[in-house]
């Protein structure tokens, strides 16, 4: 990773800095263009956000009809990208921390949040780095992340540690079924060209059962699962019972449990 802040501010550095800012603003526009590269995420966002809000409201006893229903909840978003989830949740008054290993995404996310007047703690760090600081969250999100990690159990054990006792973890991913191969890879990547070919590897997709097991091993227990399906007539994604392709899952860490029951990390 490149150092972002030059040690000494000179006239030349200032120009460089301005250019960098412009580049990140351009990237932010890319992230936030609903018809651009990240169109599928924008399209799924209302359904994902509805699930996140509903689960958090139920778990923490909040009112879903309140436009600041998540007031005061500390939430970490692992793999936050340009902040597509962080910003709406911050508007619901959650205290958001956005984590992403890609420095550029985080810079773009910061640039966008600033224009929106939203305060979000974006960090170009891996989730591992936070654990050692002792910070724990009321909720941790890992949306569209687990299908990209090489070792699901290890990832969950690590990410799970960020959830405080009595807190909640929310996940979304793609099931490993023939239907998901047809829809998510052949359909979304080759036919519809929603995603670049090679975005997903089908053998890395995760079944709800595997996800549930990994959560268990990390000391969390599944509390809910739902499917997210695309309705081609309405052009909208919505929550449904069918978990064959895209699905979401919620899990809670029991309140009485010791804070860090997972495998030891350095």
């Amino acid at each position: 990773m490149r150092p972002m802040t030059p040690l000494k501010q000179t006239a030349a550095d200032a120009t460089l800095d301005a250019r960098e800012v412009a580049r990140f603003a351009a990237m932010a526009r890319e992230w936030w263009d609903p018809k651009g590269k990240f169109a599928p995420l924008h399209a799924m966002n209302p359904a994902r956000l509805t699930y996140i809000r509903d689960q958090l409201c139920r778990h923490f006893g909040r009112d879903t009809r309140d436009s600041s229903s998540l007031t005061g909840l500390a939430i970490a978003d692992i793999g936050c990208g340009g902040g597509l989830l962080c910003e709406p949740l911050a508007r619901l008054d959650a205290r958001m921390t956005g984590l992403d290993p890609a420095e550029e995404s985080v810079q773009a996310a910061r640039a966008h949040a600033k224009v929106q007047g939203l305060e979000i703690d974006y960090r170009a760090e891996r989730a591992e780095a936070l654990i050692s600081t002792g910070i724990r969250f009321d909720a941790v999100l890992a949306m569209e992340v687990v299908e990209h990690v090489p070792d699901l159990t290890a990832f969950m054990a690590m990410a799970g540690q960020l959830v405080r006792p009595g807190g909640m973890m929310l996940l979304s991913t793609i099931n490993r079924t023939l239907k998901s191969y047809a829809l998510a890879i052949v359909g979304a990547e080759y036919v519809m060209r929603w995603l670049p070919v090679g975005t997903h590897q089908w053998d890395r997709f995760v079944t709800p059962r595997e996800l549930s097991k990994a959560l268990d091993a990390a000391g969390l227990s599944e509390s809910d699962r739902r499917g997210i399906v695309f309705n081609p007539f309405r052009g909208e994604w919505s929550l449904a019972g069918d978990t064959d392709v895209n699905f979401v899952m919620a899990a809670v860490r029991p309140a009485h449990q010791a804070p860090d029951p997972g495998p030891k990390q350095t």
Binding site: P34, L92, E236
Partner: protein, 411 residues
């Protein structure tokens, strides 16, 4: 020079604009809404009748009940209990009834109500002024707008400017905002005018509405409270304008043969005006941080009194879409939010508009075979209860995917 920030700015404080402001603030008390209107609110509240009345569907009534407006107008609205449709030449003394509807969804639940426009508008304004979260900017007008990354800045005629997350064009059929957004409309004029006035009659109407399909176009008699009815008389443009300009006696003499003798002797009971009829549907209902509602989005033939009802469906759908978005932290003016509104409304509006257009074309004609076909068609409808029920329910706004407000619920 003020520069205030609102969640939603609404250009136009007529039925659609005011209803939307009430719907948004009723569903979400944290919402701040500006309503910009040309008319000073006090004038509108004590406004005199302009002779216009509106048929409210059962669904529209549900919306007004949910918004706390219905109680104030209930005593002044007339339920439509029955509808007769006749198809006859102008000189026919006896007008055979072709089609008869009991205009009730269930016993005691009328499918439609007649409300006088000035009564309804006064009730809406009075209610909106009590509602926290609504700021009236009147008399005032929107002269233009510019969109940016964090919202839309709205220029007012007075030179003031306000910021909002979303601008709603409720500024009528010649919408300035629609034009500024570069949204074209599809449609055509009919070379017809709608003549509107109030008629007093000797005998009670008992809640009966009558639609005479006359050769020059439909002539509707719609019951108001007391022994009064509102007429909507579709006429060829030149003759229509001419007849409205005549003196009371001469005008009444033209009304009489059209009105018929069913309710006994008649007299004029209000001012009269002729409105040009056209059908137009905006090609888009949304643009960057802009949504069109009501007549700004579509104007339909007033044949079945559906204009306002269709506008209120826009209101209910847009309010629900905006409130849903805010409750998951998405912006009211975000493209996905607006797309959802457009998808929800456009098909329905186009369908209603073209259905009314088709009926008008079919009936504004004195061709004998066509007349036979119409009689056959209406006769069939009359003898097919499911089809009749469909028409009554469609007129009541109870078909399709219904937004919460039209079921009487705050979203």
């Amino acid at each position: 020079m003020s520069n205030e920030r609102y969640d939603i700015a609404i250009a136009g404080g007529s039925f659609a604009g005011l209803s939307l402001a009430l719907a948004l603030t009723s569903a979400d008390a944290s919402m701040r809404v500006a309503v910009v209107d040309r008319t000073p609110p006090d004038d509108a509240v004590k406004g005199e009748s302009d002779g216009r009345a509106t048929a409210l569907s059962a669904a529209s009534r549900q919306l007004f009940e949910a918004l706390g407006v219905w109680a104030a107008v209930e005593m002044s609205v007339q339920p439509i209990l029955e509808i007769d449709i006749t198809d006859s030449g102008l000189k026919s003394i006896v007008r055979p009834r072709l089609l008869h509807f009991d205009s009730e969804l269930k016993p005691g639940e009328p499918a439609a109500f007649m409300a006088e426009n000035h009564v309804l508008r006064a009730a809406l304004i009075a209610r909106a002024r009590q509602q926290p979260g609504i700021d009236f900017r009147a008399p005032e007008m929107v002269s233009g707008y510019e969109t940016g990354d964090s919202g839309v800045s709205v220029r007012l005629g007075s030179g003031d400017e306000l910021m909002a997350g979303l601008l709603v064009a409720a500024d009528g059929r010649r919408s300035v905002l629609r034009k500024q957004a570069g949204i074209k409309t599809t449609g055509w004029g009919y070379s017809q005018v709608g003549i509107v006035t109030t008629i007093a009659h000797e005998k009670p109407h008992n809640g009966l509405a009558i639609q005479h399909f006359l050769p020059s176009g439909p002539f509707a008699i719609l019951p108001l409270t007391g022994n009064r009815s509102s007429i909507v008389w579709t006429e060829r443009e030149t003759f229509g304008r001419d007849v409205v300009a005549r003196g009371d006696e001469a005008f009444l003499a033209e009304v009489k043969p059209r009105f018929g003798v069913r309710f006994g002797a008649i007299s004029l009971a209000g001012p009269r005006a002729a409105f040009p009829l056209d059908l137009h549907i905006a090609r888009r209902f949304v643009a960057d941080r802009l949504a069109l509602i009501g007549d700004a989005a579509h104007g339909v033939h007033p044949l079945a009194g559906q204009g306002l009802n269709i506008g209120l469906r826009d209101v209910a759908a847009l309010a629900e879409v905006v409130v849903d978005a805010r409750r998951v932290g998405l912006e009211a003016g975000a493209p996905q939010t607006l797309q959802r509104y457009e998808r929800w409304r456009r098909f329905d509006s186009a369908f209603s508009g073209f259905a009314m257009d088709g009926l008008n074309r079919l009936f504004s004609n004195d061709n004998a075979p066509l007349r036979a076909l119409r009689s056959l068609g209406l006769g069939l409808v009359d003898r097919t209860p499911p089809l009749k029920r469909f028409f009554v329910h469609e007129a009541a706004g109870a078909t399709g995917e219904v937004p919460a407000l039209l079921r009487g619920e705050i979203p």
